[in-house]
């Protein structure tokens, strides 16, 4: 088995070229790979297509930083605060430049990835019928079911070039355990041509192999594994740290204008060479305030025979 452990900068440089379609933020509010997103911004990647269900500020940051030419998502904004100002500026005023928006709902973006994961051309659903999401979409397509003639909306398979998934732990060979709310992580990992895991901990393979039902996807889909403790901040990681609600409020405040956002980006992304520097800038007290207050361990499971 090959060692897939890379630094964040090498992983992004090697596997997220300009023009890639990148799925991220797949667990919805938790496990958002902010550290990876910030490295993409620092490497000045351009013309990315971002794929996700809802995106809790990461897409907004990357849009504002000029990395993005296309969004295929159900929701882009700031979950606890509301709108995303960079998303608004890009769509309303083409600032920093125009982006193309392909609107999905959470179910339909999940089904689009699932279709790719299943190797089927599309999945016919009955959600969104009659909506303007369906009417305006470049790919969704209204067709009567050949079975009984009733309307369906075909959701074509969507295959990301790469899915970036933050997890609790991974091994160097490319296998990961994730738990909690997982959203469409599995569908994206299986659909994508390749997966980059960013992980709170790198553990021996035995730890991962001890619980194969909890593994997200097979290692042959894995491009790289990056050790990135704190890499999901300000989003939460079950069993590791809590959501930094304040950071979302601060981001909301400091992204109202392009100038505000430029300063925020400089301070929190450009000036931080890596996640360790970022956490250092966040401060030990604030970071400690997000730490676990209680442990709640899963009941034992015996794979013996």
């Amino acid at each position: 088995m090959s060692d897939k452990l890379l630094s964040m900068s090498d992983a992004i440089a090697r596997y997220v070229p300009d023009g890639s379609s990148v799925a991220l933020g797949l667990a919805l509010e938790p496990l958002i790979p902010f550290a990876a997103g910030h490295e993409i911004i620092r490497q000045r990647r351009r013309n990315l297509t971002l794929i996700g269900p809802i995106s809790d500020i990461l897409f907004d940051e990357m849009i504002g930083a000029g990395c993005v030419s296309r969004i295929a998502a159900a929701w882009v904004g700031n979950v606890s605060e509301g709108l995303g100002y960079n998303y608004r500026r890009a769509t309303e005023h083409q600032q920093p430049h125009a982006i193309t928006v392909e609107d999905y709902s959470n179910y339909s973006v999940g089904l689009a990835l699932l279709a790719a994961a299943l190797g089927v051309p599309y999945i016919p659903m009955r959600s969104l019928l009659g909506s303007d999401i369906a009417r305006n979409h470049p790919h969704l397509r209204n067709e009567p079911s050949p079975l009984d003639g009733t309307p369906t909306l075909l959701v074509p398979a969507l295959q990301p070039d790469v899915a970036i998934i933050h997890v609790q732990r991974a091994d160097a060979e490319g296998r990961a355990h994730a738990w909690g709310g997982l959203g469409i992580c599995e569908e994206a990992a299986l659909a994508a041509k390749g997966v980059i895991y960013t992980a709170e901990e790198i553990v021996p393979a035995e730890v991962i192999l001890s619980d194969p039902n909890r593994v997200l996807a097979p290692a042959f889909k894995t491009l790289a594994v990056v050790h990135s403790p704190g890499g999901a901040h300000p989003s939460p990681v079950q069993g590791y740290y809590n959501r930094d609600h304040k950071a979302y409020a601060e981001y909301h405040e400091h992204s109202r204008t392009p100038e505000d956002f430029a300063a925020w980006l400089q301070e929190w992304v450009i000036d931080q060479p890596d996640r360790a520097a970022y956490l250092d800038h966040l401060g030990t007290e604030r970071w400690a305030g997000l730490a676990l207050r209680e442990h709640h361990y899963a009941a034992p499971v015996d794979y013996g025979y």
Partner: protein, 257 residues
């Protein structure tokens, strides 16, 4: 509204109205903010067997121990009875397993269609809203839909410019015509009133005005000639028990002040 013992905020009354939409034993697509408090309130009053679904893949039969900022917050995972893939969870919604769903919106129109996408045109929006999330799926697939809105005239246009979450389209049997398998809005819970929909035309109508508002006030803040149900009345205020429970769930008043 009034000061003194019985004082409450409009949000608290909305939570109470939302809780009353939940029947005991129902499977409810919960969402965040006020509906989440409504779920907790219903569980502790008339609907102890209600089950909550969350689009990140959670099923809960107990409210979380702590107030949530997002459905993905760690306290919402702990004690969940199922934490699965979004697609598996939404599949249950698509099967028709959820009797009720809650959504919010920036705009709602005469036939209960919701816009959470584009104010103005899609090509040149004056405001780009975040989009559907799971809202359009819930509106399409839940057995009944309860809509939570601030009641302002600009949020109640006669016809939304963009249907993110389908209501009754242009009325009548539009939902069946477009192929939606069930559902449609049953209630619109606003800062001024509780509204419903006529069984035949599916046009929105005023069911009850909140204390402090009136039929005239509600109509003045609605962007079309709002119909009024024959049985229209004042919304019963929260009971002291209901207020106590809401305040236990949101002691800082984060969502309700």
């Amino acid at each position: 509204m009034a000061a003194g013992d019985g004082a409450y905020t409009p949000q608290e009354l909305m939570v109470v109205c939302a809780a009353r939409q939940i029947r005991d034993g129902e499977v409810v697509f919960v969402g965040m903010r006020l509906p989440l408090l409504a779920f907790a309130l219903a569980k502790r009053t008339h609907a102890p067997s209600a089950i909550g679904l969350f689009e990140n893949g959670l099923v809960r039969d107990t409210p979380s121990r702590e107030l949530l900022m997002t459905m993905g917050d760690a306290p919402n995972i702990l004690g969940a009875e199922w934490a699965t893939r979004t697609v598996a969870l939404m599949g249950l919604l698509a099967q028709g397993c959820a009797q009720l769903g809650f959504v919010g919106g920036a705009e709602v129109d005469r036939y209960g269609n919701l816009n959470t996408s584009y104010v103005g045109s899609r090509e040149h929006p004056t405001v780009k809203l975040p989009g559907s999330g799971g809202g359009a799926d819930i509106a399409s697939l839940a057995g009944r839909l309860a809509i939570i809105m601030e009641h302002e005239r600009r949020r109640f246009p006669e016809r939304v410019s963009y249907i993110t979450s389908p209501g009754y389209g242009d009325g009548g049997d539009w939902r069946a015509q477009v192929g939606l398998p069930r559902g449609g809005p049953a209630a619109v819970i606003t800062t001024r009133a509780l509204l419903g929909f006529r069984d035949d035309t599916h046009e929105m109508q005023l069911l009850s005005w909140h204390p402090g508002s009136s039929i005239e006030d509600v109509r003045a803040h609605t962007g079309w000639e709002l119909a009024v149900a024959p049985e229209v009345h004042e919304t019963p205020p929260p009971t002291s028990d209901e207020l106590r429970i809401i305040r236990e769930c949101d002691p800082q008043g984060f969502w309700t002040r």
